[in-house]
């Protein structure tokens, strides 16, 4: 009885596929469906308001209103309307989706007005929507999609240099499956029984928790599907460019301008008397995985910094990430010290930490948070790494956060995939989640970040955070702590800055962790660290529904384009590499797309918890599995109608009411000369909620 089909996709659906200029992207198969139940409701509410209001006011107005209404809707609507077939079809398992669905959610047009710029979508043979710069590689007929939920679907498979696009017209409603090639982790041949000798089976194991399967006939006239897919899914392994370098979209906003390190440090009040903006790494000579601009203590010589660099793994010296505006306590990040089995010391490093401590007059202590398990930190000594000895660093307190390494996290998410896709074990759902330990690691991370935030906020003490290399767990912890401490990072723009700064610029190895365009799926460097971070952010948004300016759709979209290779944002592993590849000139930033339509990604509940430190409750009782992301490919896991949908409707109603009241007020004042000065349009200021409808 839980054939709760039809609604695939994330809470809001991700991916820009609603927009003409980016129709087939990383977030395919997303949830128009979710908008729809309530979407129809918006329409219903509108009608109702129209009816109510028109019954209340004199005769001329209703027609007025109707005209108004139409006028407002028409242009946008036409655009959406044109796109509707593929919008609805882009649902994975879209066969559950009924053909007349668009008439039931006209809200698409209302909620998501199409932008009037951007290249028009080209349709290949009236079937396949193409992005600017995208080209069709091959079309194969009579391909069978093996749907894990409803069986075989016969249709046509089109492969472009960006996506795989499968359409079938044989069902009661057209079925479309749209998978961008970047998301594919590996291609596997599978056996397909009972389909004849020449039939081959293919499974696309994806990084985003699904594995669509196909069966196709091998005929000589057909090009080799596997070879073509592999070529374009793993372009780097075939000496081809990533699709981001071919993508020709023009956005009105330039996302590359979102992060300007100098401006961000200025916002934090830097430089100041203790901290200086250093250009020592401007040509990446000091540390090739650090950004060119660094913040280091004023009272230290360049020579000393170089000596410290030698003592720190990968030359990742302690640098400032964030400074508390009142106490001057700082979050400093670095890599492990190269202590080695013989307990080497480095006077400059010891002095460096002393200076960091001294830069904060409020506390005579410094806390080092080593993200690793203490046992691992000890073993690292044998490998020439290690941790700071409290006896060599006076007034330093060392804490291990006991977070397992990238391999453990990869394994955990792999288990999670088994739990959520394609079928779930109803009887043991909860214990199965427990057994993946995924939420346990989320709890460890949040707990670690909360400890860091608390040390700064309550303890007024500066902290140094590192793991082994300082680009995985360190990035997770510092960025989460900063999110708790600084409300700016909880805005849509601020969050982008946080990601650009703590993750992209400080050398989280996106290329290695995600494996963009690389066919070596078994590479042990791969690990979902960034996914884990976004999950932690989502958990925080669940506990504080009003504290974040962005919504769930934003988080899902970010994750979809972590893999898609449509945008350049997450490509490569360091600023140096990105500069060499001229990523900013040759590719589009994800933030260009996001910031061109911020209203889609805005949380309507958002109110600025100004200067309010968020303390998420780090308890299993409040951590949930993010099914809207992990389980979105299972149509039976249709997410629940989120409260914010209703809020959007109510905001719409309020706007409508306000409009009527103001109109009548104007009417009244113009009709009667007697002025009612006392009744200002009182509540137009109203409850501080985002009035994006």
């Amino acid at each position: 009885m839980e054939k709760q089909a039809g609604a695939v996709g994330a809470a809001d659906g991700a991916g820009p596929n609603r927009k003409p200029w980016s129709s087939a992207t990383g977030g395919p198969a997303t949830g128009e469906t979710l908008d729809s139940p309530t979407g129809s409701h918006v329409e219903w509410c509108k009608q109702l308001i129209a009816a109510t209001i028109s019954s209340q006011i004199s005769g001329s107005v209703p027609s007025d209103f109707t005209r108004d209404n139409k006028a407002r809707r028409r242009p946008d609507f036409m655009v959406s309307k044109r796109l509707t077939p593929r919008q609805q079809d882009s649902q994975d398992e879209g066969l559950y989706y009924h053909g007349d669905s668009d008439s039931e959610h006209p809200s698409n047009a209302l909620n998501l007005p199409a932008l009037r710029y951007g290249a028009p979508v080209t349709m290949f043979q009236d079937q396949v929507p193409l992005l600017p710069g995208e080209s069709v590689q091959t079309t194969v007929k009579d391909v069978m999609y093996i749907c894990p939920f409803s069986g075989l679907v016969n249709g046509t498979l089109t492969i472009t240099d960006y996506k795989l696009y499968f359409t079938s017209m044989e069902r009661e409603s057209p079925f479309v499956l749209d998978v961008n090639l970047g998301v594919i982790s590996r291609l596997e041949t599978i056996s397909v029984p009972n389909q004849g000798e020449n039939t081959k089976g293919l499974e696309l194991v994806c990084k985003d928790m699904r594995s669509p399967r196909f069966a196709y006939k091998t005929e000589e006239s057909h090009p080799d599907v596997v070879e073509l897919l592999s070529k374009h899914a793993f372009p780097l392994s075939h000496s081809l460019p990533l699709f981001s370098f071919l993508y020709q979209e023009q956005f009105p906003v330039d996302g590359w301008k979102v992060y300007d390190p100098a401006a961000e440090y200025r916002r934090l009040g830097l430089p100041n008397e203790s901290w200086a903006i250093s250009k020592m790494n401007s040509s990446y000579e000091l540390c090739d995985t650090y950004p060119s601009i660094l913040v280091v203590p004023t009272h230290i010589t360049e020579d000393d910094v170089r000596r410290v660099a030698v003592f720190r793994a990968k030359h990742r010296i302690p640098v400032l990430s964030w400074i508390h505006p009142e106490t001057q306590a700082t979050i400093v990040r670095c890599s492990q010290p190269l202590v080695g089995p013989s307990d080497r010391r480095c006077k400059e490093d010891e002095r460096f930490l002393q200076i960091i401590m001294d830069a904060n007059a409020q506390s005579h202590k410094l806390t080092i948070f080593d993200a690793r398990q203490s046992s691992v930190a000890v073993t690292n000594k044998a490998k020439d790494g290690g941790y700071e000895s409290e006896s060599f660093y006076p007034n330093v307190e060392l804490n291990f956060l006991e977070i397992p390494n990238i391999h453990v996290m990869r394994e955990s998410l792999r288990k999670m995939k088994d739990v959520v896709y394609p079928t779930i074990d109803e009887a043991h759902w909860h214990s199965a989640i427990d057994q993946t330990h995924w939420l346990e690691y989320i709890r460890l991370l949040l707990a670690g970040a909360a400890k860091i935030a608390d040390k700064l906020e309550s303890g007024k003490t500066s902290v140094v955070v590192h793991c082994s290399d300082g680009w995985d767990r360190t990035a997770q912890l510092t960025s989460l702590a900063m999110l708790m401490l600084d409300s700016h990072y909880r805005t849509l723009r601020g969050f982008q800055v946080l990601v650009e700064k703590e993750w992209v610029s400080f050398g989280h190895k996106f290329a290695a962790r995600v494996g963009h365009g690389d066919e070596n799926h078994a590479n042990s460097e791969r690990s979902p660290l960034f996914v884990q971070f976004i999950d932690c952010v989502w958990q925080m948004t669940r506990q504080f529904p009003a504290a974040f300016e962005f919504n769930e759709l934003f988080l899902i979209t970010v994750l979809d384009h972590l893999y898609s290779c449509l945008f350049g944002t997450f490509l490569y592993s360091s600023e140096q590499e990105r500069a060499a590849k001229e990523v900013q000139t040759n590719t589009v930033s994800l933030w260009s797309y996001i910031n061109s339509q911020p209203e889609d990604f805005t949380n309507p509940f958002y109110v600025d918890y100004e200067h309010h430190v968020l303390c998420p409750l780090v308890s299993s009782r409040h951590l949930e599995l993010w099914t809207a992301y992990y389980a979105r490919w299972n149509p039976r896991m249709r997410p629940q109608v989120p409260v914010h949908q209703t809020l959007k409707e109510l905001l719409f109603l309020r706007a409508e009411l306000q409009r009527r009241v103001e109109e009548l007020q104007r009417d009244a004042t113009s009709r009667s000369s007697s002025s009612f000065s006392e009744h200002s349009p009182s509540h137009s200021a109203g409850t501080p909620l985002h009035s994006v409808v």
Partner: protein
């Protein structure tokens, strides 16, 4: 309900030892601490210099004061009024530190120095002077008092009194009988006879034929009639006096059939679908031969009452659902891990622990079975008979859930209350036994009503805008079960209620012919418990807000009887409202048939039953919140009801966060909308020709339905500090598990055999 035989020790030490620096100079309060007593309430025993423990970790927040046992409650009066402003729900009849005796689950006395512990029952002796009293409450609170500075004898007396008075020997000894008698006479002057029938109560009680008649008309059940064969409970002791039966069944038939049914509970009607299908419930029939005979007589009568003469399907409810003992033990387990076990201990494998309690599994089973009944009624257009051996437990849950899913009327506040009245109170759910108010028979105790409320919460959680009321309302309703002042949860049947209330009226000199509802009101008279302002916490802004546009005469949209919006085949936006966006005629005819049209390629790989198809079909389209509502039923869709289960747990309380912050914003928004609306109305004015008068526009302020009012631009945007995930409740002082590191008790629990007193050992095993 607390595990009488604990499978694992209740007290575990997980906290570092508490420094015993309690030797602070204690200033004995000199002022007299007076309890606030209700009419008819008397103090039984009291003790001074009692410390109420607030936190297990330290005693610095503890309160000093007087502990009092009355014939109604355990009351603690702190010597210093708390400085903090009371920002949570305040009860009109109970103080912040009061616990009704009926709410006590277990009274435990402890002597730390002697290492003794005893669970106290009625009329028991206590051979040691207690140093501590721990009260386990049915609403999941755990309250701890410390007697170190108190007079040992009076402390002991109070403990014994509490234990004794929380085990009333007989039903009329419950305080409600005293209180309502006094209240009736004292407030008599204020009542104007007949002006407001039933004291203004809008909820139908279903104790009169007219209530049933109205329900028959509302649901269009024209082939059903109100039958009064059970007048004076002549036929069945547990059915109400009026039941609804098929028109074609005569009183004589019913009388004949009745002898074969358990408790003579003949088939009686619950509800009618607009398509004519009826929901009927009945008790089991002992003899299988008789079962067939009865089926042959009763089924055709029900079929005859169906406009399409559609068949009848019987569902054996108790064959496919957990029984009351299963439910009871699941509840005990879930309570154990939520409030009793040390917090940190259950953190590790929380989800598995929840799964092991099976509580959510049972919630799901009831929702699922109800949804299947919905398919039969709505999708298959057949009438359904729910058969349960006694027809007084599981049937209550299933029939009310089915109606909640099918009929939006029951998702309004009044509708919901009438549903509880109809399917629980009048149908003879044995509230007295299931609540175990007299603590006589633990075997009969089962939180069935609580399970139902949890099921409702699950639906509410999935469709937040579909219900007029909030989860705070559901929680408060569950708490009311343990305040024995209202008639709703005190009796096993309407016969029992009638008898007791008759005696009561006689004893209290209440004039004959006076309405029961007036002299012994049901819980639905919320003004007895909460102020008007606090009652606004029951209103769901999402529901109210959407209604706002169409509520003009104070009437919220009710059950729409047009098939267009109602039937599953045509659900969604009515065609007339589609604004010509697309002519949907084609698809509508296609979707008209639910059972056929299984495309071969569908069925080849995956068999899909008609009901699966029905649900898939329903879920593939947007839900109409004013129509059929089916909950999502994968385990992932069900959640632990945190407000109910975790509201007292300080470690689980999110400061300035939780869903309440969203509720806060929505309420403000809706309040603002209501203001705008009143402005609109004023502009419209009585005569459209004249200039509108926007005079004192906040005249409606007293009718404003939101707890949180629209903010002014000067208010800080972030939510107020008192909003926590426990709001409108507070964990402060309401959940004090025992840390007790290094005490004899913990040593005992760790295996050290120092508990030598036989009394203690015996009772501990209890």
């Amino acid at each position: 309900m607390f595990s009488v035989k604990p499978t694992k020790p209740t007290f575990k030490s997980y906290l570092p030892p508490v420094p015993t620096d309690v030797k602070k100079t204690i200033e004995p309060p000199l002022k007299k601490l007076e309890p606030k007593l209700l009419q008819g309430e008397i103090v039984v025993n009291e003790v001074n210099f009692v410390r109420k423990c607030i936190s297990a970790e330290s005693s610095q927040d503890d309160l000093w004061g007087k502990l009092i046992c009355t014939n109604f409650k355990v009351s603690f009066i702190p010597s210093e009024a708390s400085s903090k402003q009371n920002s949570h729900l305040s009860h009109l009849l109970l103080g912040e530190h009061d616990i009704p005796l009926a709410c006590l689950e277990q009274v435990v006395t402890v002597n730390d120095t002697k290492g003794k512990k005893k669970v106290l029952g009625s009329n028991q002796k206590l051979k040691f002077n207690p140093t501590e009293l721990i009260l386990y409450c049915k609403d999941l609170r755990i309250i701890r008092f410390c007697f170190v500075e108190a007079g040992p004898e009076s402390a002991k007396k109070v403990c014994l009194a509490i234990a004794h008075y929380s085990h009333p020997a007989d039903l009329p000894l419950l305080f409600g009988f005293e209180y309502q008698g006094r209240r009736y006479h004292e407030s008599k002057g204020q009542r104007v006879n007949g002006a407001t029938p039933r004291g203004g109560l809008q909820t139908p009680i279903f104790d009169r034929p007219s209530d049933w008649d109205r329900e028959i008309k509302r649901t269009g059940a024209s082939e059903w009639r109100v039958c009064s064969i059970n007048e004076s409970y002549a036929i069945s002791p547990s059915l109400p006096e009026n039941i609804v039966v098929p028109v074609s069944l005569t009183d004589q038939d019913l009388k004949q059939h009745s002898i074969f049914f358990m408790n003579q509970r003949v088939p009686h009607w619950c509800w009618n679908h607009p398509n004519g299908s009826a929901l009927v419930r009945m008790a089991g029939i002992g003899d299988p031969l008789q079962q067939r005979r009865i089926d042959q007589r009763v089924f055709p009568a029900i079929t005859k009452s169906h406009p399409q003469r559609s068949e009848v399907i019987r569902s054996d409810v108790d064959k496919c659902l957990p029984n009351i003992q299963d439910i009871q033990s699941a509840f005990i387990k879930v309570r154990q891990i939520c409030v009793i076990d040390p917090f940190e201990e259950s953190e590790e494998r929380w989800l598995s622990s929840i799964e092991n309690t099976r509580w959510l599994e049972y919630v799901r089973a009831f929702l699922k079975h109800s949804a299947e009944m919905v398919y039969l009624l709505d999708g298959k257009n057949t009438s359904v008979i729910l058969q349960e051996e006694e027809d007084r437990d599981l049937n209550c849950v299933v029939s009310s859930l089915v109606q909640l899913m099918l009929d939006p009327h029951y998702r309004s506040l009044i509708g919901f209350q009438s549903l509880v009245q109809k399917e629980w109170v009048m149908a003879g759910h044995r509230f007295l036994d299931r609540c175990n108010h007299l603590k006589k028979n633990d075997k009969d105790e089962s939180p069935l009503f609580m399970l139902f409320l949890d099921c409702v919460w699950q639906m509410m959680n999935q469709y937040p805008a579909a219900f007029e009321f909030t989860e705070a309302y559901l929680t408060v309703l569950s708490d009311s079960m343990w305040i024995p002042l209202f008639s709703t949860f005190l009796f096993n049947s309407s016969k029992q209620r009638a008898q007791h209330l008759m005696d009561f009226a006689k004893n209290k000199a209440i004039p004959q012919g006076e309405d029961q509802v007036v002299y012994f009101p049901p819980v639905w008279e919320w003004s007895q418990q909460f102020s008007t302002k606090d009652q606004t916490l029951f209103n769901n802004p999402m529901y109210v807000g959407k209604g706002a546009a169409c509520v003009q005469n104070g009437e919220v949209k009710t059950f729409r009887r047009t098939k267009k919006t109602y039937s599953s085949t045509l659900r969604g936006t009515p065609a007339s409202l589609r604004n010509g966006l697309k002519a949907g005629g084609d698809s509508l005819t296609r979707r008209g048939s639910l059972l056929s049209e299984l495309r071969p390629d569908f069925s080849l790989v995956k068999d899909e039953s008609p009901s699966e198809r029905f649900f898939r079909d329903w879920f593939s389209r947007p839900a109409d919140l004013q129509g059929l509502l089916i909950p999502l039923l994968l385990p992932s869709h069900l959640a632990l009801w945190k407000l109910y289960f975790l509201r007292w747990v300080p470690e689980a309380c999110i400061a300035k966060g939780g869903p309440i912050t969203a509720y806060h914003k929505l309420s403000q928004l809706v309040d603002e909308m209501e203001i705008l609306q009143s402005q609109l109305r004023q502009y419209k004015g009585p005569s459209p020709g004249r200039t509108p008068r926007p005079s004192s526009s906040w005249s409606l302020s007293d009718q404003r339905r939101m707890y949180f009012k629209a903010s002014s631009p000067h208010d800080p945007p972030s939510p107020p500090d008192f909003l926590t995930s426990s709001f409108p409740f507070t964990p402060m002082g309401n959940l004090c598990r025992r840390g007790g590191y290094g005490t004899p008790i913990s040593k005992f629990l760790n295996g050290a055999r120092i508990w030598l007193s036989t009394e203690t050992l015996e009772n501990d095993g209890l």
